[in-house]
C-alpha cells in the first residue's frame, strides 16, 4: 500500500545515502551515546522486553512450584524471592519502560517535532532506569536475605512494614530493593518531565491540544500522573533506608513507628501506578482501533475528558487496597465510593471504542486482533474491579487468587496484549519491515488461549479460599486440579511469547519491506519514511485536524470541516 502514501510537503527523507557500512563497534557506540528519541525509545522497548522475559521465567517457575500440592521444585526462600522479583520487575522494569518506549518513539513523531524537549536528559533517564534494574538484579549476587540464606528481596513487591525492618529482614536484599526503586524512580521522573515538556512546547504548527492524537494525550496525562505518584514512593523508600541505617522509626513498630504509614505511602503511589501502567494500553487502543475500523475515533473530547478524569479520581482511591487493615467504617465507605466512580470514565472509554468500531469496516490484522481481545479482557477486569470495590466482599477476596486474577487481567489481558498490538503496529515504522502476520496470528491465538486458561481459572482458585504468596498448599484443600490448569496455561503463554520473540528477531532481517504507511493510517508518524530520518521531518509539518493524513488522502472530505 506504500504507493498510496501521501507525504506531507517537506516531510521527505533527505538523508544522503550512507558512504560506508558501519562496523559493529561503531554501531554499538552510536547507540550508547545517542540522544535520538527513536533510538532511546527502542532501547526502552528492548529493556522492557528483556525484563518481561526475565519476569516471565520467574512466573513460570512459580507456576511449576504451585502446579501440584506439596511440591518441592522451589524452596520457600527461593519462591518468596521469585514472586517479589516477579512483581517488582514487571511493574518497574517492564511496565514503566514500556510507557517511555512508546512515548519516546511516538510522541515527537505524532506532534511533528524533531526530538524530545530535552534529548540529553532523555538519554540520562534511560540509562538511570536501566541501571536501577541492573542494581535490583545484582542483589542475586550481592545481597544476603532473611536468615543469611539468600540474596534477592523477599518481602513482596508491597514490602509492608515492619517486615522490611532490619529485625525481620537482615542482610542487604531489602536495601537493593529500596535503592533500585529510588534509582529507577529518578529515571522515571526525568522521562515523565520530558514527555510533558515535549507535548506542551514542541507541537507543530496547527496542532492544538485538542488536535493531538489520543495516544499523545494519554501519554501526557500518564506522565503527569507519574510525576505525582513516584514522589511518595521515593519518599517512602528514603524513609525506609533511614529506618534501616540511620536509626529512624517511621515504620519501626517496635519503637512506636507505624506500619499503616507505609501502607498509605505505598498505595498512594501503588494505585495510581496501575492506571499509569494501563494508560499506554488505552493509548495504543485509541490509535489501532480507529485505523483498523477505518473510522475516526468516536467522541474524541469525551475520551480526553475520561482520561483526565480517570487520572484525577485514581489519586483518591488508594485505600481500597486497605479494606482489611481495620479502617473506620466511614473511611471504608469513602473509598468504596471513590473506587466505584472510576468505573464511570472507564466505561465511557470502552463505549467510545465500541462506537468507533460500530459501522466500520474492521480489518482483523494482528494489531487489531490484540486490541479486540484487549477490549473484552478490559471489560471483564473492570467488572471484577467493581466486585473488589465492594468492601465487604473484598474482605473475602483481598489477597486471594481472585485478586491475582483480577490484576493480571489488567496487566496481561490489557497491557501486555496492547503492547503486542503496538509492537505489531509500529514495528514497520521503526524498522521499515513488516512483522510476519502468520506467526503473529499463531502468537495471538496461543497467547489468548494460554491467557484465559490461566487467569480465568485463577478467579475460581480465589473463590475457594487460596491466598496469594504461599509457596505450597496441603493436598486436602482441593486446590490441586485448578492450579495445575493455571500452570498449563502459563506454559502455553510462554510458548506464545517465544513465537513472538522469534518473529520479532527474524522480521528484522527477512520481513516484507513496509513502506511509509503500511496500514493506511492517519497520524503524522506515517507521513515520514520508515524508519524515520534522524530529524523526523525535513520541514515542520502543518496540520489542520486530528487526522492530517486523512485530510491529505481525502481532500474532498477533510476532517477539519467537522471538528469543532
Amino acid at each position: 500500500m506504500a504507493d498510496r502514501t501521501l507525504p506531507i510537503h517537506g516531510a521527505l527523507d533527505l538523508t544522503p545515502p550512507r558512504e560506508h557500512e558501519s562496523t559493529l563497534l561503531e554501531t554499538l557506540h552510536s547507540w550508547v551515546v545517542t540522544v535520538d528519541h527513536k533510538k532511546l525509545g527502542l532501547m526502552y522497548m528492548m529493556m522492557a522486553i528483556f525484563f518481561l522475559l526475565v519476569g516471565g521465567v520467574e512466573a513460570i517457575c512459580i507456576r511449576i512450584q504451585l502446579a501440584v500440592p506439596n511440591n518441592h521444585f522451589l524452596s520457600p526462600q527461593v519462591f518468596n524471592r521469585f514472586f517479589t522479583m516477579h512483581g517488582t520487575t514487571m511493574v518497574f522494569l517492564t511496565g514503566i519502560p514500556l510507557i517511555f518506549g512508546f512515548a519516546n518513539y511516538m510522541v515527537p513523531l505524532q506532534v511533528g517535532a524533531r526530538d524530545m524537549a530535552f534529548p540529553r536528559m532523555n538519554a540520562f533517564s534511560f540509562w538511570v532506569t536501566l541501571f536501577g534494574g541492573l542494581l535490583l538484579y545484582y542483589s542475586f549476587l550481592g545481597g544476603s536475605g532473611l536468615y543469611g540464606m539468600g540474596n534477592a528481596p523477599d518481602v513482596t513487591w508491597w514490602a509492608y512494614a515492619p517486615l522490611t525492618a532490619r529485625a525481620f529482614s537482615p542482610g542487604h536484599a531489602t536495601d537493593y530493593w529500596a535503592l533500585a526503586l529510588i534509582v529507577t524512580g529518578i529515571g522515571t521522573l526525568g522521562a515523565a518531565i520530558n514527555v510533558i515538556a515535549t507535548v506542551l512546547c514542541m507541537r507543530c504548527k496547527g496542532m492544538t491540544l485538542m488536535r493531538m492524537p489520543l495516544f499523545t494525550w494519554l501519554m501526557l496525562v500518564d506522565s503527569g500522573l507519574l510525576l505525582v505518584t513516584i514522589t511518595p514512593l521515593t519518599a517512602a523508600q528514603v524513609m525506609l533506608v533511614i529506618d534501616r541505617y540511620l536509626g529512624g522509626h517511621f515504620f519501626d513498630t517496635q519503637a512506636g513507628g507505624s506500619a499503616m504509614v507505609w501502607m498509605h505511602f505505598f498505595w498512594i503511589f501503588g494505585h495510581p501506578e496501575v492506571y499509569v501502567l494501563v494508560f499506554p494500553a488505552f493509548a495504543i487502543a485509541s490509535e489501532v482501533i480507529p485505523v483498523f475500523s477505518r473510522k475516526a475515533i468516536f467522541g474524541y473530547p469525551a475520551m480526553v475528558a475520561a482520561s483526565v478524569g480517570i487520572a484525577f479520581v485514581s489519586l483518591g482511591v488508594w485505600a481500597h487496597h486497605m479494606f482489611t487493615v481495620g479502617m473506620a467504617s466511614v473511611s471504608n465507605t469513602f473509598f468504596v465510593l471513590s473506587t466505584m466512580l472510576v468505573g464511570i470514565p472507564t466505561g465511557i472509554k470502552i463505549f467510545n471504542w465500541l462506537a468507533t468500531m460500530w459501522g466500520g469496516k474492521i480489518r482483523f490484522q494482528v494489531p487489531m486482533l490484540f486490541c479486540t481481545a484487549f477490549l473484552f479482557q478490559f471489560l471483564a477486569a473492570g467488572l471484577t474491579g467493581i466486585m473488589l470495590s465492594v468492601a465487604p466482599w473484598d474482605w473475602q477476596l483481598h489477597n486471594s487468587y481472585f485478586v491475582i486474577a483480577h490484576f493480571h487481567y489488567i496487566l496481561v489481558g490489557a497491557i501486555v496484549f496492547n503492547t503486542f498490538a503496538g509492537i505489531y503496529y509500529w514495528f514497520p515504522k521503526a524498522t521499515g519491515r513488516m512483522m510476519n502476520q502468520t506467526l503473529g496470528k499463531w502468537h495471538f491465538w496461543l497467547f489468548l488461549i494460554g491467557f484465559h486458561v490461566t487467569f480465568d481459572t485463577m478467579h475460581f482458585v480465589g473463590f475457594e479460599g487460596m491466598p496469594r504468596w504461599i509457596y505450597t498448599y496441603p493436598a486436602d484443600r482441593g486446590w490441586g486440579q485448578l492450579n495445575l490448569v493455571v500452570s498449563i496455561g502459563g506454559i502455553i503463554q510462554g510458548i506464545a511469547v517465544l513465537i513472538f520473540a522469534y518473529n520479532l528477531i527474524s522480521s528484522l532481517f527477512v520481513g516484507k519491506v513496509a513502506g511509509n504507511d503500511p496500514w493506511d493510517a492517519w497520524t503524522l508518524e506515517w507521513s515520514t519514511s520508515s524508519p524515520p530520518p534522524d530529524y523526523n521531518f525535513a520541514t515542520d509539518p502543518v496540520v489542520r485536524s486530528r487526522r492530517p493524513l486523512w485530510d491529505l488522502k481525502h481532500p474532498e472530505d477533510p476532517d477539519w470541516k467537522y471538528e469543532a
Binding site: P76, Q77, Y147, D154, T156, A161, P162, L163, F168, T253, Q254, G256, S258, A259, R294, K295, A296, F298, G299, Y300, T324, V325, G326, S329, N332, T333, L337, G343, I344, I348, F351, L354, M357, G360, K361, I362, F364, T372, L375, L379, L383, M387, V390, A391, P392, W393, D394, W395, H398, N399, S400, F460, F463, E464, G465, T472, Y473, D476, R477, Y562
Partner: protein, 347 residues
C-alpha cells in the same frame, strides 16, 4: 427494596452458573476441606455471600450486554472480501449517546454504593452482645496465639469457640494483635479477613452456626513460612466447649514417670520460648505447651500431632517447616526421647 436483597440469602441464576463451573463451590452449611467463600457457616460470611450474589447479578448483566455488543460489532462490521474499497461513513461522536452511557453507569454506581455502605456498617459496627466470648488473637512468625481473657486460658494454633445459633446467639469477638510483622486472619467460611498489625488492634466477629473444624490461613505475607501459618477453628457444641475449657484451665499434668523429660525440657533452652503452666517454663516467644496433647496438629497446622512428628519437630524443625523460627537444639537421641515422652503427657 435494597434491604430485601440481603435479608434472605438468594440463590441467583448467575451465581449458580458460576458454581456449575466449579464443583467444589457447593452450598454447604458445615465445614469443608476446601474453604470456599460461597459456603458460609457464620453470619458475616453469609451476608457477604448474599451481597456478592447481588453484585454478581449486576456485573454479570453488564458483562453480557457489553460483551454481546462487542461480539455483535466484531461479526457484523468486519471487512469482507466482497467490499468495495471505499471508507465507511465517518462519525465523530454524539452528545446524546455520550450522555446516555455516562448517566446509566452513574445510576448503577449509586445502587451498588448504597448497598455496599449498608453492609459495611452492618458487619463492622455490629454491637457486641453480653453473651459473646472474647478472644485475643496474637499473630507471630509463624503461628497463632489465642488468649481467652475471661476464662484464663492461653492456647495456640487451634481456636476453640462455642457453637452459636439464631435462638441462642453465642458469637465470638476477637481482638487481633501482632507480636512482630503484619499477618491476616482468614477463615473464609466464617468471615472476611482482617489484618493483624503491630500497634494497631483490630476486631473481628463470627457466630458459627454449624459445629466442626473450619480451615483457613494467614493471608498477609509475613516471611518465609507464611504458607504454613495455617488456621484451624474448632466450633464445639456447648458441652464439648465446656469440657475443653475445663481441661485448658488446669495446669500442666505432672507425671512422675516422665520427670527426667521434664528436667531436660527445663534445663535445655526449651523453656526460654515455651510455657507449661505450673512449672518453671514461662517463655512467651513460642506456643504455650500446657495442653499440647489437646491439639490435633503441631507447627501451626503444618503436620499432625503424632509421636514421630513431635520428635522430628524437636530434633529439626526445618525438616518439617523450613524457615520456622524454632531452632534445632542438637539434642541427643535420649534427650529427644525424654522430651517427647514428657510433652506427650501434657494432655
Amino acid at each position: 427494596m435494597l434491604r430485601h436483597w440481603f435479608r434472605q440469602p438468594r440463590t441467583s441464576t448467575l451465581a449458580a452458573l458460576l458454581l456449575a463451573l466449579c464443583p467444589a463451590l457447593a452450598f454447604a452449611a458445615g465445614p469443608q476441606a476446601t474453604p470456599s467463600i460461597f459456603a458460609p457457616a457464620s453470619t458475616p460470611a453469609a451476608e457477604i455471600r448474599s451481597l456478592s450474589y447481588f453484585v454478581l447479578e449486576i456485573t454479570g448483566t453488564i458483562f453480557v450486554v457489553v460483551g454481546g455488543l462487542l461480539a455483535y460489532v466484531v461479526v457484523r462490521f468486519r471487512a469482507r472480501d466482497t467490499d468495495d474499497n471505499r471508507e465507511p461513513a465517518q462519525i465523530y461522536g454524539s452528545t446524546q449517546v455520550e450522555l446516555a452511557w455516562t448517566v446509566i453507569p452513574v445510576l448503577i454506581v449509586v445502587v451498588l454504593f448504597l448497598t455496599t455502605a449498608r453492609m459495611i456498617f452492618a458487619i463492622q459496627e455490629a454491637p457486641k452482645p453480653q453473651s459473646a466470648l472474647s478472644v485475643t488473637v496474637v499473630g507471630h512468625q509463624f503461628w497463632w496465639e489465642y488468649r481467652y481473657p475471661d476464662l484464663g486460658i492461653v492456647a495456640a494454633n487451634e481456636l476453640h469457640v462455642p457453637l452459636s445459633s439464631t435462638q441462642d446467639p453465642k458469637p465470638t469477638f476477637m481482638k487481633l494483635l501482632s507480636a512482630d510483622v503484619d499477618h491476616s486472619y482468614w477463615v473464609p467460611q466464617l468471615s472476611g479477613k482482617i489484618d493483624l498489625i503491630p500497634n494497631h488492634p483490630n476486631e473481628l466477629w463470627i457466630d458459627p452456626l454449624q459445629p466442626g473444624l473450619y480451615l483457613g490461613q494467614c493471608a498477609q505475607f509475613c516471611g518465609v513460612q507464611h504458607a504454613n501459618m495455617l488456621l484451624r477453628v474448632y466450633v464445639d457444641t456447648p458441652e464439648k466447649f465446656a469440657a475443653w475449657v475445663q481441661n485448658q484451665q488446669q495446669p500442666g499434668v505432672q507425671d512422675p514417670a516422665v520427670a527426667q523429660g521434664r528436667r531436660t525440657f527445663e534445663t535445655q533452652a526449651c523453656m526460654n520460648c515455651h510455657a507449661v503452666r505450673g512449672t518453671a517454663a514461662t517463655g512467651r516467644f513460642g506456643p504455650d505447651l500446657t495442653h499440647l496433647m489437646s491439639r490435633d496438629t503441631i507447627a501451626s497446622g503444618a503436620v499432625p500431632n503424632t509421636s514421630d512428628n513431635l520428635r522430628q519437630w524437636i530434633k529439626n524443625p526445618d525438616s518439617l517447616k523450613p524457615g520456622s523460627l524454632m531452632p534445632a537444639m542438637h539434642l541427643s537421641d535420649t534427650q529427644l526421647d525424654q522430651i517427647t515422652a514428657y510433652l506427650e503427657t501434657l494432655k
